[in-house]
Amino acid sequence: MTVLLDDPMVTTPWVIDQMRRETADTFTFILKPVKGHGRGSFQFEPGQFNMLYVFGTGEVPISISGTQEQNGKLEHTTRVAGTVTGAMGKLRSGDVIGIRGPFGSHWPIENAIGKDVIVVAGGIGLAPLRPVYNALVGRRDEFNKIVLLYGSRTPEDILFRSELEKLSANLDIEVFVTVDRSTMGWRGNVGVVTSLLRNVPFDPRNAVAMVCGPEIMMRFSVHELQRRGLKEEEIYISMERNMKCAIGHCGHCQYGPEFICKDGPVFPYNRISNLLGTREL
């Protein structure tokens, strides 16, 4: 259940309990609330995001990559991509950042009950899907086949590698990892993640797909899923645009009639299919 916020524009201080380096340019913050500023346990739905404020630098929307329910800690995984994330990358344990959220729509886990679930992630797009596959595995009996497809740039860029290895060892979830460019020693799959979709086992008449990654990767993944016979309304994608207020007031993330921050970031494909590929948006 989503916690109702008193004032969604007011940031709350959280302290960086741990900073875990994932790859050369990605890292995960494990955050705990500053004493006296907590709101009890932080509840969110997989796919939602928080606004992370680096004091003196700026605020960016970052998807929630996990929580640790037993101790109320919150996890955010991001890549150094701009000024704010660059500043975030320089923070260390004990530093404090501001958090507003959670905001936005979420992945349709309840809609996936009783169906095959295909999770398709590209690059850092695995982070917003991490709470999804953890939830699916945690409630394994409620779903049919679970397939996780992940495309990475190189073997060195694979996110949550040990987690994925553990998942692959799990016999009732199928995990396929591919890299766009192989390097020495890599014996896994080489090729784009969309090519994996051609032969993945699922029943298109009773399946849901959740896709997250660069927009081009998502568009081509949708094409492949449609070619396999999956209905548009059973394909969900997570969009990103320039979000500022996160509550649909400022208009920075307007996407045709939608606001990515409020109506998204997760959309059923059929709701925005006519907007994707429109250059002006």
């Binding site: 799959n189 090729g191 784009v192 032969n199």
Partner: protein, 161 residues
């Protein structure tokens, strides 16, 4: 022969072929089993077959002294392997090495080409199948070139991930 016809008929790639065309292909095909690490073909070798993988996986590789071996793409069961058999001088451009025990239908390239000349409908139907795989692979190669997960200098700076 009948067994091969059944295998080809039941293969997703050939579902558009008529029974007569399947029979023609089956007469020019054989099943091959391959151990891990077997080379199905090597760069500059004679492209006298093309393949449809029915089990296992194959890495398309290129090797050069001082540069090492680079795998460009992994092909899996259901994938068609080999186009060089269609175009003179009929020489392979890359190496294809199995990554696990694999099985493939191997088609004899010269007799398939001969059949193309005599039966244009057969040629058209088979070429449509090959062209579909070529299109998929070109699209995949373009996406690889785009380096989608790398840093894009023109990116507008928004980041939700």
């Amino acid at each position: 022969m009948k067994q091969l016809e059944n295998i080809i008929t039941n293969n997703e790639n050939f579902k558009t072929l008529s029974p007569e065309h399947v029979k023609e292909l089956a007469g020019r095909a054989s099943i091959i089993d391959l151990e891990t690490g077997a080379f199905m073909f090597c760069q500059d070798g004679k492209a006298d077959h093309f393949y449809v993988l029915t089990k296992g996986s194959v890495g398309l590789e290129i090797h050069a002294a001082g540069w090492g071996t680079v795998t460009m793409q992994t092909l899996r069961s259901g994938d068609l392997l080999g186009w060089s058999w269609m175009f003179p001088p009929y020489r392979w451009h890359f190496d294809a090495k199995t990554l696990e025990p694999s099985q493939a239908i191997a088609f004899d390239a010269a007799t398939v080409r001969d059949k193309f000349k005599k039966d244009s409908d057969f040629g058209y139907q088979v070429m449509k199948i090959v062209a579909t795989h070529m299109m998929d692979r070109i699209v995949a190669a373009r996406l690889q070139i785009l380096d989608l997960y790398g840093k894009n200098p023109d990116h507008q700076g928004y980041a939700i991930r």
